[in-house]
Each structure stands twice: as structure tokens, then as C-alpha cells.
């Protein structure tokens, strides 16, 4: 049942919602409005002259090869990060669910990466992977693999996928552990007595029962990979070498802040906003439905 608290008068409720309202307006509505406003204008590099250009910024993006490439790159990045992070989270969760001894320690350790700030995570990986002095770079060098993410675009792209996925594994792990725990033990036992074992039992019994969790995580991971990896990528490669690691959010920053194309950058932001609204709507729709039934 829904809980409702009733207040007398109007002042108290107004005062109570004010801080949240202020934050929302200051950090969400206002920037969003600014982005909309800028996206239909063109401003010169010095910010001295602004003119209304209608949808020109958007049309320009639609025709831009660079933008299309960034879009495809982001798509590949999101899919790769989502698949990797979810698969790893699921495998670890399945093992954690089976572990009898040291279960609590195991779980706690696996949750740690999530608590690391994205930029710090990048710094840690820089220590390990720095082209000249990195620990892993040296190991790979001995194996005859020339690793240099600063000049090799493919390697750089692979690297940000791995780090982004690594950071998200904990999150998926937590949700999958919870998901596995909500699968009734007697259902699994009944399947066992019916003759199901091992992977077959997982595929026909556990995996289908994890569907709501999986669906939720797909959306969350996608949103994470698309929007939440800016700090991580920027600290590591800043979108380079070239545009090898330039996902859409990185491009917004580069075009707007570095190349000072405010209108184009704002138009990109508006597109990103539309995407995130769409994804959130999908998630609400489906997870909302499940919660009711």
C-alpha cells in the first residue's frame, strides 16, 4: 500500500520540497534549458556574437561523418562494456552464491571497485599500463606484445572498454547476487530431483528467473557506458589517439569546450538527452509493469 503523509497548511510542504526543487532546477532544468537554447544558435569562438540558426546545428550533425563514426563507436563501446561487465558480474555472482566459506569477505571485496572514483580508476590503470614504465606494459613487452595505448587507437579503445567494464562489474555482481538469492531454493531443488544438473539447470531454471534483473542491468549498463564513462575516458586518453576513444559524451566536451563550437556541442547534448529519456522510459515501462504483476 502507498503511504501518504498529510500536512496541514501549505508552507511546510513547500519548505520541505524546496531544497530538492532548487537542486533539480539549478543542476538539471537550467542546464537542459541552456542546451536547448544554444542548440538552435551559433556563437562565435569568442562568445561575442550569437545568432539564431534554427535546426542548422542538427542538420550539420546529421551530415557529419565524424558524428556518425562517434555514434557507431559509442554503440560498439556500450555493447562491449555491457556484455563484458554483465557476464563477469553474473559469473562471479554464481560463484559467490555457491561459496560456503568466506562468502561475506568474497562479496565485500568484489564490491570495492565500485567505490573507486572513475578518474582514480584511470590513474591506477595508467600506473599499470603507461607505455614506457607501466607494469603490465613491461610484462606484455616481454611476451612480444607492443602495447602503447597512447599511439595505438585499437589498443586504446580496447583499454577503455576493459576499464569501464571492470568498474561496472561490482554493480552487476551485487544485483545478480540479490537476483540469485531471490530464486527460491526449493525450485532449484525440484529441478534437481527432476534430473537437471549443472549448466542445463542454470540455463533452463536460473537464467530465466533472472530475466528481470538482466533486463534492468542491460539498461543501467548501457546508460553507464554511454554517459557515465566520461571522467574515466578523459583521464586516460582524452578521446585520443585521434578520435579512437571519442564516444559521444567525450565529443560533446571536445567540440564545445576545446573546439568552442557551442551550438554544435549543445545540439549533441540535446540528442544525448533524448536518448537517455528514451532509455529511462523503456526501463520504467517494463520494470514498472513487472513490479505490479
Amino acid at each position: 500500500m502507498e503511504r501518504r503523509t498529510l500536512f496541514n497548511g501549505r508552507l511546510l510542504p513547500a519548505v520541505l520540497v524546496l531544497p530538492q526543487l532548487a537542486i533539480t532546477i539549478l543542476f538539471f532544468i537550467l542546464p537542459a534549458y541552456k542546451a536547448f537554447a544554444e542548440s538552435v544558435r551559433a556563437t562565435d569562438a569568442f562568445g561575442l556574437h550569437t545568432s539564431f540558426v534554427g535546426f542548422a546545428n542538427f542538420l550539420h550533425l546529421a551530415r557529419s561523418n565524424l558524428y556518425q563514426h562517434a555514434m557507431i563507436r559509442t554503440g560498439v563501446f556500450c555493447v562491449a562494456v555491457t556484455v563484458l561487465a554483465m557476464a563477469a558480474g553474473l559469473v562471479l555472482a554464481v560463484f559467490a552464491d555457491r561459496a560456503i566459506k568466506g562468502r561475506a569477505i568474497y562479496r565485500t571485496l568484489l564490491i570495492w571497485p565500485y567505490a573507486i572514483a572513475p578518474a582514480i580508476a584511470s590513474v591506477i590503470f595508467v600506473f599499470l599500463l603507461q607505455p614506457q614504465i607501466g607494469l603490465i606494459t613491461n610484462l606484455l613487452g616481454r611476451l612480444g606484445i607492443d602495447f602503447d595505448y597512447a599511439t595505438n587507437g585499437g589498443q586504446a579503445f580496447l583499454l577503455i572498454i576493459l576499464i569501464a567494464a571492470w568498474k561496472q562489474v561490482s554493480y552487476n555482481f551485487i544485483f545478480y547476487v540479490a537476483g540469485l538469492q531471490s530464486v527460491p531454493r526449493s525450485v532449484i531443488e525440484a529441478a534437481t530431483l527432476d534430473g537437471a544438473r549443472g549448466f542445463h539447470r542454470f540455463r533452463t531454471m536460473i537464467w530465466p528467473l533472472l530475466t528481470p534483473t538482466t533486463f534492468f542491468l542491460i539498461i543501467v549498463n548501457f546508460v553507464y557506458a554511454a554517459f557515465d564513462t566520461f571522467a574515466l575516458i578523459f583521464a586516460l586518453t582524452a578521446g585520443g589517439p585521434g578520435t579512437a576513444t571519442e564516444t559521444l559524451v567525450v565529443k560533446v566536451y571536445r567540440d564545445g569546450v576545446i573546439n568552442l563550437d557551442l551550438g554544435g556541442s549543445a545540439a549533441q547534448s540535446v540528442i544525448l538527452m533524448a536518448i537517455i529519456v528514451g532509455l529511462t522510459a523503456i526501463q520504467f515501462r517494463y520494470t514498472g509493469k513487472r513490479a505490479v504483476s
Binding site: 527460491p184 525450485v187 531443488e189 525440484a190 530431483l193 527432476d194
Partner: protein, 367 residues
């Protein structure tokens, strides 16, 4: 169809011993009901047989073959769980088909078997539904159907009726019994409901704190409970117990409440003045006006319709319950008598039943 034998089956969880070595043999097609208070280890025993827990000691033989260490998936045993444990994402049909597919059965064969079972259980119209679209009673039947289509060697039931309302329970209880008799599948059935136990069982095993207190036919357990625990557990309302001492060479007892009762079926072992407990079921004690009647101070009267329960206290302060036909007499103190052939005699200390010494047994013991 199979025989099942348990030899010294024991289970410990860490330091606590839940089962202290249970020995049991089921003949082919037998329905054995395990009954006992909550926490006495009934489910644990069942789970050991199913292979869902590993025994700490002992052996399990199915059809004479030792299956103690065998993978539960390879035991050919079906279990009906208390919460039914239906596969929530599968239709009723798929719930029943799951085990058959795993056996490698062909599709048409599976469909035929399921239709047959659905027919028996009245599930034919529900085969396409998901478990969440079923009522409790329907779910229970699906769980039954899932067990019977597999034609396993052994059925295990863990309180399959406890989630049904009282009326449905009586009906499903009868259905289960009929079905089990027709299919002749050897079954172990756990319940804490003694009426369920009495009506379903070929034989009963009364468990108490991880031990089999008594194994026998329901009437045998009811008529000759092996100890005070069984006597108080089986039978509703529970048996009355009166402290007493043995007199007259074991052929009579003097109740602490006053009167002396004869033990006409034979003398009990033990010197005079041995402390014993006399038991009698509430429906067996009688209202009386005779000379040997003893007074009962009435404390509570519960009319049950055609019968009445009278709660009261005897002269020595012990509680006593009486079930009489018709209404209770309107008096604060009534007189009751204990018919001799309904008396149960237990050792006061060990609680074990004291049987009359037969002539053979009362002969002087060999040195």
C-alpha cells in the same frame, strides 16, 4: 515401485545433531507417514533420502541398491514441496514436461502422459497457465502431477497440504491416498497433522527430537503408544496422565488423586510402590456415580456440538480432560471413573510403556 531402507541414518549440522540414527524399511507400494512436532527432523530425513542433504552417518538403500552418495538428479525420486516449488516461468504443461524431457522422452509420449495425469487431477483446462495464475489448490495438484508423470521409484511429500484451507485439505488428503493406492508408489509423507497422519498412513513413524519414537500401523500407535511422548502426541484431544504407584504385585495402581484402579490385562513388572504414570484418553473416561468414582473440579466447558469437552482438576491438583457425548452436567464438581481396559501404563521415569507381563515373561529370568 520400490523398497526403501534406511540404516542408522544420522545428520548433524555443525554441533547440533538433528537425526540420531534412524532405521526404517518400506515395503513396495507402502505409504509411510512421518509425524512429529516442529523441528524434530522430519524434513531433514526426507531431504536426506532425496539427496538434498548429505547424511553424517548411515546408508540409504533403494531397491536394495546403496544410493547414499548418489547425485539427487540420478535417484529417480520425486518430491512434493510444502510451497510446491513450481517453476514460475513455465506453464503447467512445461512444469510437468521438464523432468520427462530430461529423461529423453519423445514429445508425443510426453504429451500423452501429461494429458493422462492432467485428466486424473482435473488440470486439463489449466495446462497453458503459469503457476501465478493458479489458486493454491490448483498449484498443489500441479505439484502432484509433476511428481506422478515421472513415474518415480519413490514419492516424497513434505507437508503438501499445509498451505490449503481446512476443507480442501480433507478432500485433497483423500485424493492423495486414492492416487497413491492406485499407482502403488512407495511413499514417504511428512506431516505434523496427526489426523492427516492417521488417515493416510499404512504405517506411521512418530519422530521425537531426531529419533523414531515409534513405528507401526496407525491403530497400533494409537492403541499402544510406546511412550508418553507418543501417547500425548497422537490422539486429539491429548491423553490425560495421572501419577500413580504400583501396588498389589503390579496388578493395580493407586492414583495420587485417590482411587485405586485394577490393571486387568496383567501384572506390570516392578516392585510395589514403583512410581508410574497412568494414561487415559479424554473420550475413554466416563461420567460415573459408582463407588470408585473420583471427583473432578470443573474449570472449563467447551461444547463441540454433539460432544462436550470438560476441563478440570483432580483431587491431587493435576489437570484432567473429559470428552462426553451430549451436554455437560451442570455441576461444579462431577464424578468420573477410568475404565480399566482403556488404561495405559508408563514408567514414571523413562516414560516407556509398561506392557503386562505375559506368563512366559513373568517366569523367573535365566541366570
Amino acid at each position: 515401485m520400490a523398497t526403501l531402507e534406511l540404516q542408522g541414518l544420522a545428520k548433524r549440522f555443525g554441533k547440533t545433531t538433528v537425526l540420531h540414527g534412524v532405521d526404517l524399511a518400506l515395503t513396495d507400494g507402502e505409504m509411510l507417514v512421518i509425524v512429529g512436532a516442529s523441528g524434530c527432523g522430519k524434513s531433514t530425513l526426507l531431504r536426506l533420502v532425496a539427496g538434498l542433504e548429505e547424511p553424517s552417518a548411515g546408508r540409504i538403500l533403494l531397491d536394495g541398491v546403496d544410493i547414499t552418495g548418489r547425485d539427487p538428479a540420478r535417484r529417480d525420486i520425486a518430491m512434493v514441496f510444502q510451497n510446491y516449488a513450481l517453476y514460475p516461468h513455465m506453464s503447467v504443461f512445461d512444469n510437468m514436461a521438464y523432468g520427462l524431457k530430461l529423461k529423453g522422452m519423445k514429445r508425443p509420449e510426453i504429451a500423452r502422459k501429461i494429458e493422462e495425469a492432467a485428466d486424473t487431477l482435473g488440470l486439463s483446462a489449466l495446462l497453458g497457465r503459469k503457476p501465478r495464475e493458479l489458486s493454491g489448490g490448483q498449484r498443489q495438484r500441479v505439484a502432484m502431477g509433476r511428481a506422478i508423470v515421472r513415474e518415480p521409484k519413490l514419492f516424497l511429500f513434505d507437508e503438501p497440504l499445509s498451505n490449503l484451507d481446512a476443507k480442501l485439505r480433507v478432500q485433497v488428503r483423500a485424493d492423495i491416498r486414492k492416487l497413491q493406492k492406485r499407482l502403488k508408489v512407495t511413499s514417504l509423507y511428512v506431516t505434523h497433522d496427526q489426523i492427516e497422519a492417521m488417515t493416510l498412513a499404512d504405517r506411521l513413524i512418530v519422530m521425537h527430537e531426531g529419533r523414531a519414537a515409534q513405528i507401526g500401523a496407525p491403530t497400533a500407535v494409537f492403541d499402544k503408544p510406546a511412550d508418553r511422548y507418543v501417547a500425548s502426541f497422537i490422539g486429539e484431544p491429548a491423553m490425560n496422565f495421572c501419577s500413580a504407584t504400583l501396588i498389589a504385585g503390579g496388578t493395580a495402581a493407586r492414583l495420587d488423586a485417590g482411587p485405586t484402579v485394577d490393571l486387568p490385562d496383567g501384572a506390570r513388572a516392578g516392585a510395589d510402590d514403583t512410581r508410574i504414570t497412568i494414561g487415559i484418553r479424554p473420550q475413554h473416561a466416563l461420567l460415573s456415580t459408582g463407588a470408585d468414582a473420583m471427583p473432578l473440579t470443573v474449570e472449563l466447558i467447551e461444547p463441540l456440538g454433539s460432544e462436550t469437552l470438560i476441563h478440570g482438576r483432580l483431587a491431587d491438583g493435576s489437570e484432567f480432560m473429559l470428552r462426553v457425548a451430549g451436554p455437560a452436567p451442570a455441576a461444579e464438581t462431577i464424578k468420573i471413573s477410568l475404565p480399566a481396559h482403556y488404561l495405559h501404563v508408563f514408567d514414571a521415569e523413562s516414560g516407556k510403556r509398561l506392557e503386562p507381563l505375559t506368563p512366559a515373561l513373568s517366569a523367573p529370568a535365566m541366570p
